[in-house]
Symmetry: C2
Subunit: 546 residues, 2 copies
């Protein structure tokens, strides 16, 4: 009988074989392991031409799309540039799982031919290379989600998302790493290994969409897609210093993606984009909804992109902004407060009010009850076939399985929590000058910055928005800088957990670790939160430029 080790070894060898030798940097030319950023290593490594560096460093997805649509860049050359940069990124941080370079070259050539012969782009994402988390199916490769037992069962068809992206003209070319079970905010499994943080490779990239976070940060992909059931888009976005969007549940089509805990519908997992530009999130959202994904995914509500709502939010003169400085249980590492203050200082005349943390412990219990109602049976079934080891994950294994009635009571508690949180949000009307509730809420991106792999996790800062199901944009703000952050010293611990997490804080060791914020909007108002985020980002980035 084949062992899990043999299967994993064979899969990794297959992956290796699909990476062109010409796109590899000689081992002795690679940067040494350590805390230095390797984000820009590809620029000078010799694999990419000057034009390819220019292409891959066109961070603004709108600009890249315009150049593809005008023919300034061909789809084929853009793809090849990103393939090269992805290969270099992989040597540095191990973000990849399945490789679709050959398929992608074919699709890109078709797009070029189509544009040439018709004068028209195929769709709004014409020619854009894209990466997707290993949950999404691309016909022909596996979608193992880190389970070795899922290997060698190639997908027969594309996930709805992949189909939608291809119809919009995108070129999916690679799939990315995640933790086995997906229920963890680091990115390591026995099949594909560990993905590290390219800003400081002694640290993890967050998870579960950590392959996306690392790859997008390294400019190996201009736009990637992750999923988020407790923070899995936002954590790697924050920890890898890129933009990320967690939409409300089912807004974008999850149909046909492989998942853990299928049938757990109390807190639905959602998919969302990661990009180095805010425009990447907006272009993704507009393009996906323009394909009417509700005609293919029965869970996706028939809600076209609401242009009016987006335009209103991005041009609204006076914003009411709430700030939740901490969640009342674990205070975030010091640079998060610095990041929020830095952003606020650029915002001009908006009305900023403090937003009180809301029942964090109860929220974490609600998440736990939802994810563990099966007593771990789902994950046990997944690892059983090859008796593969279980990596670190959040699961019901070892917990008592709930009964049907208990599942209902847990749902009831969650529904009541959502109502109470909505009332809490609306009550900010009593704090603002114009008597309207806050338009957006700013929250630390996470409780801590990237830390070394192998730690526990705390998802209070992200999990709350899975429970209430609000859309969130992650915006990168700054990085850990020992010169600025080194002197912070806390003794005012809220509880032992708070103290434990603070114990991991060490500006010297965590140097370069990105720090981001979450910008939170009302449920199903993705357009509004993207519009408000644009205002906030424009003010902030103008101040950096100025």
């Amino acid at each position: 009988m084949t062992t899990w080790q043999q299967v994993a070894e064979a899969k990794r060898a297959q992956r290796e074989a699909l990476l062109p030798a010409a796109y590899k940097v000689a081992a002795d030319k690679l940067p040494p392991a350590g805390t230095d950023s390797v984000i820009d290593f590809a620029r000078t490594c010799g694999v990419l031409s000057e034009r390819e560096v220019e292409i891959t460093e066109t961070d603004d997805v709108s600009v890249l799309l315009a150049r593809l649509a005008s023919g300034h860049y061909t789809a084929v050359e853009v793809l090849e540039a990103f393939i090269k940069r992805t290969c270099v990124a992989h040597q540095l941080a191990n973000p990849l799982t399945e490789i679709h370079f050959e398929d992608a070259r074919e699709w890109a050539a078709e797009l070029d031919a189509e544009l040439k012969s018709t004068g028209k782009v195929r769709g709004p994402l014409h020619g854009l290379p894209m990466s997707v988390k290993d949950q999404f199916q691309i016909a022909g490769s596996d979608a193992t989600i880190g389970y070795i037992s899922y290997a060698n069962k190639p997908s027969k068809s594309d996930s709805v998302l992949v189909d939608v992206l291809k119809r919009a003209g995108a070129v999916p070319f690679v799939k990315t790493n995640l933790p086995q079970t997906i229920m963890y905010s680091e990115t390591s499994n026995m099949l594909w290994g560990t993905t590290v943080n390219p800003h400081n490779r002694t640290l993890h990239p967050g998870g579960s969409s950590g392959g996306e976070g690392a790859l997008v940060a390294m400019k190996g992909s201009p736009l990637g897609v992750g999923t988020d059931v407790g923070g899995s888009v936002r954590i790697p976005a924050t920890l890898c210093g890129v933009f990320g969007l967690r939409p409300s549940s089912h807004r974008y089509p999850y149909e046909g993606a492989i998942n853990s805990l299928v049938g757990q519908i109390t807190i639905p997992s959602v998919l969302g984009p990661l990009s180095r530009s805010l425009s990447g999130l907006t272009e993704f959202s507009k393009a996906v909804l323009a394909q009417q994904p509700w005609l293919q995914d029965p869970q996706t509500p028939s809600m076209p992109w609401n242009t009016e709502r987006f335009e209103h939010a991005r041009t609204q003169k006076k914003l009411n902004i709430g700030v939740m400085w901490h969640d009342g249980v674990v205070k975030p590492s010091p640079p998060y407060e610095r990041a929020i203050k830095q952003v606020l200082s650029t915002l001009g005349s908006h009305d900023v009010v403090d937003f009180e943390a809301f029942r964090t412990i109860e929220m974490l219990e609600i998440l736990g009850d939802a994810f563990c109602a099966d007593g771990g049976k789902d994950i046990e079934a997944a690892i059983a076939p090859l008796n593969e080891p279980l990596g670190p994950c959040f699961s019901g294994i070892g917990k008592r399985e709930a009964t049907g009635y208990e599942v209902w009571q847990a749902n009831k508690r969650k529904l009541a929590f959502q109502k109470a949180y909505l009332d809490h949000w609306n009550a900010t009307a009593q704090q603002t000058k114009d008597g309207r509730p806050i338009d957006v809420l700013i929250v630390p991106g996470f409780a801590y910055t990237a830390v070394p792999p192998g730690n526990e996790i705390y998802i209070g800062y992200t999990g709350i928005f899975n429970v209430v199901d609000y859309p969130v944009v992650v915006m990168p703000v700054t990085k850990v800088d020992p010169k600025v952050d080194g002197s912070a010293e806390r003794t005012d611990f809220l509880n032992p957990d708070d103290e434990k997490w603070y114990g991991l804080w060490d500006a010297e060791k965590l140097v370069n670790a990105p720090v981001g914020i979450q910008i939170v909007g009302r449920r199903y108002e993705e357009e509004a939160v993207l519009g408000y985020a644009e205002q906030i980002w424009n003010a902030f980035s103008a101040s950096k430029a100025g």
Copy 2:
């Protein structure tokens, strides 16, 4: 200790005391029990003035609203007319539970004063009296949903729906009957008694929103609100000969409504309007969404009324229409086929194709698994305090409680069913002339017409659209007519169930029982299905007029 009988008796006495004596018809002036329709009895019973008859017989809600907005009718006089007619209706069919005449008179007077002083209506439903199913809370009265143990716990605040309606200018004035547990499609409980069908009082009105069905049919209310988790808006609409709308889940705000099986989220219960006019459903939908109910109900998606979608559907020249003549398990009573043919014959040049029934048995299992996952604990807990008897209902009592993992597997099966059904719908593109899938699906309103109370239920024709969560408009078409329907004779039974239900069919006994159809659209496209229904209704009613 108080017995359940004492509580019920006291509640009924309270109800009786709130019905003005002057609005009662002397017992000897009431029509005799029997199969005759009592819909129009109020017209000549002496309680209503000529003008009040005119008001209550203004079936078209848009017209009534226009007359209220222009001051042609005052809110006070419209309310009093409907109060009178409701009191007469109650004597005839027992549709009422809680009475809010005094509150409503106050609200109506305020609306009149507001219109007079400002020249403006409060909102789109200005001055419209409305009834709501007993699940909805109006501050000050109970919301027992037929459980005697829930009595004498008056609501402290309004359900979000009631609040939204009041802000839109509506005047909720009465609450209506339902079966204990709500999980049944008749309308009878030990607290409020049995509601009968006003078209033929030997028959039941359907359920669970049977109080609404009967009251709206009798013109005691121009617009009522029911709920639907297996057909509970559509069944009484069909069986009472009125229009009804089942929207997609959470589109309209359910927050703060009392319910059974709270926490059962696999198949969510939804709320929807019943009215004697299609315009009632449309005015309701526009008005409710105009109040932005998502600011109060965390489950309601932030989806404003989509005018463009509505206008497109009501003016689209060529419709692709599917017809599911039967569900493959229980063929509908003969007049349903007659009703569908009658409608189709008026439709002109649209493209009509047969729609194949889809896995009805599996769908019923999915419904059963969802509703019974608690092994009946929810309902047991509700009847325990007073040891009240359990009326006929669909519950998990006597069934094994599911485990958490089994709940997930049941959800998984349901999600897969929804995808398969969507594919089945899309596949109709192969049957139509223009290669587009069907725009709407026409389905019998129910398997049978109204039958005498105390029967079993079969919800195959309605439950399917709860499982797939599609919006459905019920349109009244015809009535059982022994002269036309009496000769039908079937022997081609699909199975014993089919034969059993056919055994209840008897045109003589079921004379006058209404017959309706369901017009089904795509998920979350309430605007489209209302627009398409308008086209179908206009063609059909023009043919009746012509």
